[in-house]
Subunit: 221 residues, 2 copies
Amino acid sequence: MFKRILIAEDQETQNISLQKTLADLGSEKPEYVYYCDDALTWIKNAIKMERPYDLLITDLYFEEDHNRQKIAGGAELITAAKTLQPELKILVFSGESKPAVIDMLFKEMNIDGYVRKARHDGQYLKLAINAIYNHKKYLSPDLKQARKENNSHDFTDLDIAIISQLVEGTPQKNIPYYLQEHNIKPSGLSSIEKRLNLMKEVLGFSKNEQLIAYCKDIGII
Amino acid sequence: MFKRILIAEDQETQNISLQKTLADLGSEKPEYVYYCDDALTWIKNAIKMERPYDLLITDLYFEEDHNRQKIAGGAELITAAKTLQPELKILVFSGESKPAVIDMLFKEMNIDGYVRKARHDGQYLKLAINAIYNHKKYLSPDLKQARKENNSHDFTDLDIAIISQLVEGTPQKNIPYYLQEHNIKPSGLSSIEKRLNLMKEVLGFSKNEQLIAYCKDIGII
DNA sequence: GTTATCCTTACGGGAAACCGTAGCAGGGCG
DNA sequence: CGCCCTGCTACGGTTTCCCGTAAGGATAAC
């Protein structure tokens, strides 16, 4: 089993119960921090002392505080940690359930496991740690189904740019200028209309308002 | 100090740490359940046995499960509990931070305290329990500021109906029919336009899309 | 080099939304 | 009772959006 585990979790009660849950897994007493910056410092020091961590368990979102932090959230912490120690295993433990966010973590950040803070999270944490120890990926089961029923449109960068501009209040007819400035093509007004129509048709919507609400729900904006 | 405390929290790790946090407060070992229905049953039984609970600590949102529940969430649990035992003190412990939701809890459900699951939630829980024991209301400090910087428009039932219809995809010009059917007045098209304009003006928006995104963020829809 | 195809863009008619104005009903007050 | 004020509604002109069609440009196959 993993010898050295580091917990990065800002929520006091969660942090306590993480320590307790991991206590009976046969590793050393896990170490824990409440801030991302601290997490990175500890990882650095552990490498320097030639006792690097085996596993990092981290939340995604950290609250702001009087302590100004360089690293704002779990995602940044993961990239920073991976540059210091590429083989470090990462288990994300967060309340986030939006498929877009979780897909990104696995695909782009190459994390090893994700457990959502939910009903049986204690059991799943243990399963996840076991799986990761055996070099497998782990995703808590409550999320697997959520990803399956995903008959959604996959949003391109263009789609997201268009929707973001709408949310900013840019009139549709002015969006071509924005797209040209940011070298996003196609940038014609007709292409924007076509793209919006496609998205709405796939999702069964008729109005932009529905589309915005949907995008807010699944978390792409 | 409170003698008998009941915890209703579906998240395994949170539930554990709640028990641990409350352990050193001088009350009996707190009792805990993972489902709303169970919570209500326990409250009922406690009354029947003439050992009623003094305090209910509950989450707001409970996950669905193979166990079909009659009571879906914390809000319903609170109303059900209060009809059984009106003097029961209620402390809500949830991750929710949207002012609209929390205001509703204090004003309409008359809860005694709210602690948000956040950085120092352990300390705040203890403060909250003390405050409630002394018949005071308690709101965790991280939320007090959030409510102050609330220069937002207060949404009327009409506003919410209009926005909901937009999110449903109803064309603006058809919303009057909907309002008439539901006996919401005013129902004229001009009134709808006027109302939308007012909301957008107060919030500094120019387009409906911005308004929808904002409402999603603060959680009124 | 030519043709076919796909994608982007431009244009124009019609619908919806936006905005200002004016008429109408109800309530308070002298 | 008459007057004023407020809020709801109705109407027209302008802008924006919607949608179908057609022209331009790049790429790939022949």
